[in-house]
Symmetry: C2
């Protein structure tokens, strides 16, 4: 709750984050190391994220499914890179119903293997393709260093899996889902992102190509916020996912997978939050507006509460997510702080004087203090709140974009790159060599985040080895 | 698919069920024994069920949350009956990240224990109560005999958990949720249910009282289709969930839990299905209507498809879930069978003659053959389909109710009871003794399903021991 202040972001960004997650009641630590409990406020935020994405998935023809969480251990071994990437992170069930299992089972770290296995049964002919599936679930990866929402043993996500007749179709799907993630991040989460391609060192275990959206957090570090993988025929070959083409030839499918997780909640916190707490984008906020009634006497209370309830009903009727804080025993000031901690985009202050002049005060969460306050007529309150929410949504994105631009530096030398990644992104020519990438990581703790899709048509010397390079890459320290 | 016919229900009800689940593409067998893959059509049905329930949960003040799937093994031991009930069914994780764990973890079989643990941190004062939570997830119970949807190692459900200051409030919550399940079953799933109280032998491991809704399947057997538990202070004591009351005294909370699972899909199949396949209630059906175009020449095809697409758009605009079957290479007759197998409530047949007279034929899935067909004017098609869907929904419920009534017998003797449970329910006075209950089970394989909430005010001799009894109970063989 809001009694104790957060450390400021400047003092200790990491501790500001940890305390904010707890105080805003988004999540809490579970009794098992590295696991997380998502509390009602955090889950309501996730449900809004789910809806915003699910709508886009269904509009592009994907159907939801549910594959089981338990996978035979041997499945993981069937794809060479996959087993290397995931073996060290597995949670293994060895006992079931009181007896030792003949074959150990793993809790899915991701579902390519079991889905490949089932597809080999379901897919026979070109008529069965494409297969466009998605599932909302949780997966388990035995992480050592954990942080709520950013990296936990169990985390919530969606994993999309598709199978296609041709390479081109699968590649187009991979790119389409990357675009959908970017569109969601920009338009719903108000987070500007850089869509791009990962290096071989950073790609998914089993992918031919991995794409990601990368966002800059409030401390200048990067957060990978969604990934889309072109899997080539790797899993189709490992699990014999084949189809008869129109000429009667047996062909392996081309597959993709793509995922976005509760990490995005970490991104929302770290991109938009301020020293008072969360600042939530209106499109995803569990409550878009909170009404705080202000009164001293019982008579004032009666008048104010009646009008407040009417405002609540009117806003709700227009599908604005609104709550009225009628809690007893807390002062309006305490409530202001509490809802600021929770990041509600618009606070509606209503006291006897406001009622007398048939008005209310709207206070913007993204602009604390007087600057963000306006008085509006009660008769206009629905349209005023609705248009303010739109303005806040846009303004949050624009501010985050300006911050990223201010903290992204085109760097031509190693020294410049080193300085740039101290508190932001470095954009630099990179020859594509894994050696340069590894050396930069070693010397600066910055990783190659992505090679942005959007590339100016120019070339220059690699920032590390000075050999000719045709692509700029983003380097940054990352979560 | 629909090429091969199902066995009839009369021939082999169990095999009819098993094949139908596969042929309608609701679900499939996973590679791990007893686990299930829910396919897109089955999951779309489950999503509609989720929405119908979630709406009711939220309207009664419940909030969704997510507690982790991994629970320390020792938690299960803290509540005496709970450990007895669940220990034999646990899936145990003993290895994580390549190392043996100091304390084994179990995959949740249900979440009372971990929720109790967290509540003991979160709940301090009467001001924090009631706590009204729900989560949609999957749980794992190591079942020996499994059947798709009815009993699988992993199954999908919602589990509600609430904490209250008083016994009365918790009991009222338990009953409220039972009513919500009954309302959902009757009004959305078109399944008449008997809400009632379970015996001590059949109650939840850790509950003081368990209530359930019981439904009669097409073979006269019972299926428990949702349960609501009054947990007393059992878990609050085991996990020290306490609050300071208004006088400053430390009190244990009173808690409840309640769940409804993918078993309800089994109920929908077995209550409504016929020898041609599924019959889905319109309120939950993934597709409420399917348009099957009929043509021979390319010219006919052009005309028919154009009109069919217009009908689809018009129905979709009125929020009727509709699909148009444009698959190439399958005859209309084949498509009719295929959609009958999948249980779509209304089929819209459209051929060149229909188009010529600006009409279409609506065929009801719940009344196969000519009897269920009507021709409607294209201009009225939206209202015709909408009103037909309402009629089907009602008629499906009424038919299931009539079936249950016809197969439920008031029985006054052991012999009558034995006969009644051969293919239906027996309603009989029961003295309440666990000995009579056990003896009946032993002799008839029928269990005491519930003591219905709705009891005529009379009394009579116990059907088994003839001692005076004041309540009638339902006995039946059950899934």
């Amino acid at each position: 709750m809001a009694e104790e202040k957060l450390p400021t972001r400047a003092q200790d960004f990491s501790e500001w984050y940890n305390q904010l997650v707890i105080k805003a009641q988004l999540a809490d630590y579970a009794p098992v190391r590295g696991c997380m409990v998502v509390r009602p406020y955090g889950w309501a935020l996730w449900e809004n994220i789910q809806q915003a994405l699910d709508r886009r998935f269904k509009a592009t023809g994907h159907q939801n499914v549910a594959f089981p969480m338990l996978i035979p251990r041997s499945f993981i071994d069937k794809e060479k890179s996959h087993v290397e990437g995931f073996s060290p992170e597995l949670a293994v069930v060895t006992i079931g119903g009181g007896e030792e299992l003949a074959e150990p089972l793993v809790i899915r770290p991701t579902s390519e293997t079991i889905i490949g296995h089932m597809w080999s049964k379901w897919i026979q002919s070109y008529r069965d393709l494409p297969v466009l599936m998605n599932q909302w679930n949780s997966v388990v990866r035995w992480e050592l260093r954990t942080k709520l929402f950013l990296r936990t043993l169990e985390f919530y996500w969606q994993e999309g899996h598709t199978a296609h007749a041709t390479r081109e179709e699968a590649e187009a799907e991979t790119r389409q889902m990357l675009d959908i993630y970017a569109d969601f991040a920009v338009n719903d989460a108000a987070i500007p992102v850089i869509p791009g391609r990962k290096s071989d060192a950073e790609k998914f275990a089993g992918a031919e190509t991995t794409y990601s959206i990368e966002a800059m957090m409030g401390d200048g570090k990067a957060l990978q916020s969604g990934t889309s993988h072109f899997l080539g025929q790797n899993f189709a070959q490992a699990f014999e996912v084949r189809y008869l083409d129109q000429t009667g030839q047996l062909q392996h499918c081309w597959t993709t997978s793509w995922g976005l997780s509760t990490r995005i909640i970490g991104a929302i916190i770290m991109v938009h939050g301020d020293d008072q707490g969360l600042v939530l984008p209106p499109k995803l906020a569990p409550y878009q507006a909170v009404i705080v009634p202000i009164f001293k006497t019982d008579e004032e209370k009666a008048t104010v509460i009646e009008v407040a309830r009417k405002i609540k009903a009117d806003l709700a009727k227009s599908e604005i997510r609104v709550t009225l804080d009628e809690r007893e025993g807390m002062s309006p000031g305490w409530k202001f702080n509490d809802w600021e901690m929770r990041g509600v985009p618009v606070r509606i202050e209503l006291g006897p004087k406001d009622v007398a002049k048939q008005a209310a005060v709207l206070a913007r969460r993204d602009r604390p203090g007087r600057e963000g306050k306006i008085s509006v007529a009660l008769g206009d309150i629905v349209t005023s709140v609705a248009s303010l929410l739109g303005e806040i949504q846009k303004s949050m994105h624009d501010r985050a974009l300006a911050f990223r631009q201010a903290n992204t530096h085109a760097t031509a030398s190693k020294d410049d790159l080193k300085t740039a990644v101290e508190n932001g992104f470095a954009s630099a020519f990179w020859c594509g060599s894994p050696d340069c990438e590894a050396a930069i990581k070693e010397e600066t703790r910055a990783t190659m985040r992505c090679i942005p899709m959007d590339q100016p048509a120019d070339s220059g010397p690699c920032v590390y080895c000075a050999k000719p390079a045709t692509s700029r890459a983003i380097f940054a320290r990352a979560y």
